[in-house]
């Protein structure tokens, strides 16, 4: 019986992972498709991926606004909504699982923004005042890990704002290649042990 070829086995796995990585696509939600003043819940569809933005604690907790921050450009989504309720959380739900998320944020009375995912894990980022024209902290919050379908954002600040939400979506073809890699690896292993 031939011995399993470890190199070939590893190569099959790596090929699958590489293919999956190479074929993942990045989708950006920048709210430029939204009307100024629109309130949550609201949805946006970009490149086949739909994101729903909803406030967990208030029906109109966030609204589309503009022209205040340095890193949040054009339209962005900010709390509070028209009823002035502060301290809301924001949940973003995706129509299919994503692998990573990166977004720009700004906060007011506290510097941090926390993200938790529907899978496990999360991240917290601290904004810093960009200086020059204004003082509120702005920053970038990123998370990558097990695939997730939604994230919830929260802060100790009275309100926060987000923009330029980049999410990484595994392409179906990438899953297929990854699966093929696994099948090939399994076949090799079975042949080696038969």
């Amino acid at each position: 019986m031939p011995r399993p070829n470890p190199t070939l086995f590893l190569t099959a796995i790596v090929a699958g992972l590489t293919a999956a990585s190479a074929n993942a696509k990045t989708v950006v939600f920048d709210f430029e498709d939204q009307e100024y003043g629109a309130v949550t819940p609201l949805t946006s569809t970009v490149d086949g991926l739909t994101a729903t933005f909803a406030s967990a604690t208030d029906a109109e907790g966030f609204q589309i606004t503009s022209a205040f921050y340095q890193t949040l450009t054009g339209n962005y989504l900010a709390g509070p909504g028209p009823d002035f309720v502060t301290g809301n959380t924001l949940t973003i739900s995706f129509s299919q699982a994503v692998r990573s998320i990166t977004l720009n944020f700004a906060v007011d009375t506290a510097p941090t923004l926390t993200l938790s995912t529907s899978a496990r894990g999360g991240a917290t980022a601290t904004g810093i005042a960009p200086g020059g024209s204004f003082l509120y902290p702005e920053g970038v919050l990123s998370f990558a890990g097990p695939r997730f379908n939604s994230v919830t954002l929260s802060s100790d600040a009275l309100s926060f704002a987000i923009d330029n939400i980049n999410v990484t979506v595994p392409e179906p073809s990438a899953f297929a290649l990854f699966g093929m890699g696994l099948v090939a690896a399994a076949a090799l292993r079975r042949r080696a042990t038969a």
């Binding site: 900010a78 502060t86 200086g131 020059g132 509120y136 009275l158 309100s159």
Partner: protein, 385 residues
Amino acid sequence: MTLNTRSAAIVGALLAATAPTQALAWGHTGHVMVSRIAIQKLPAEVPDFVRTAQAAQQIGELGAEADVSKTTGLVTSGSYAGRDIRTTFAVHDGERDPGHYVDLNDDGTFLGTTAPIAAVPNAFVLPNFNSPGRRDYDSTLRLGSGTSVRVGNVTTVTTTSFYSNTQYFVGYLPFNIVDHAQQIRKDFAYIRAFTKAIATATTPDEKSFFQYQLGLRKTLTLRDIGYASHFIGDGSQPLHVSVHFNGWGPYPNPNNYTLAGIHGPFEGAYVKANVDFTAVAALVTDYVPTTLTFEERTVRYMKATLAQVEPMYQLPGAANVFSVADPASTAFAQVRLAAASTELRDIIVDAWRQSANVTVGFPLIKVSEIEAGTVLLTRDRFAGD
């Protein structure tokens, strides 16, 4: 250096004809800066809806509103920068313009009078009026001046002398500040009352009614603070509280201070090009509780600004019409802007604190009684006919 009454009136009349920049204020950049910083510096005791970043954005933009909506009383004509700017309709009445400034002599007396600003408001209480304010100030100017120019013989009265002894010439900035501060206090009183009324409403209709009222009042409050912030901002600009409002003018000038028009270049282009936002914010000190009334604190504010008139004329920038940046002039501008933010922040806090002790509705109801639960605010009591 106070001129005698008649001389001051004549000088004032001459200055009025050549004072196109008097009613301007900090430029757009300065006003927005003053307002935004003040909101960011509010303590946590002030309601949340005033302290969010969105509130700072809105109030900041409204800080420039009194200038943005200008050309008061004018049907503009002619051209500007080669463009035809003739219009058909005026915007507002020119009566508003003097609300941006007050012409004080160096000793703190109002132009054309011997009445000191320290007397505001009590010295201006006329018989049978129990509410001191701009009405009585204007009446005092008209009655107390030494000139005889009144309605009189129309053929001998010029336009400038016609109003040279009125609030419309001397300016009424301190009364404007007090008036707007009082409105903020009233807004907060309604916030308190409606919040309690929602909690004590006995029917869904009653609760909905007050929820709407509360939302509307919050919108009005942000607007009122924003608009008020313009005039409070004006109050820290030394050239807005002095007879030397755009060059030293025809007054004794032993130090040879500039006669050039430094007003606009200082508060506009110089601030925009040289003042650092974070540096101004760093100069705003924490809120210090006070028992001063709005009237008293405004007098203090005006006097503090007036004391900076001569130091401003001593700046290196004054000699070059603020066309060249220098550290002393920049530092001066930053301190003045920070003084405005501090005053605005403090007025908002005082308004919130004092709002528990005013009345709302009609017939009048004390907010303290509503909050204590001794008087129930109902729809009928609030909107009684």
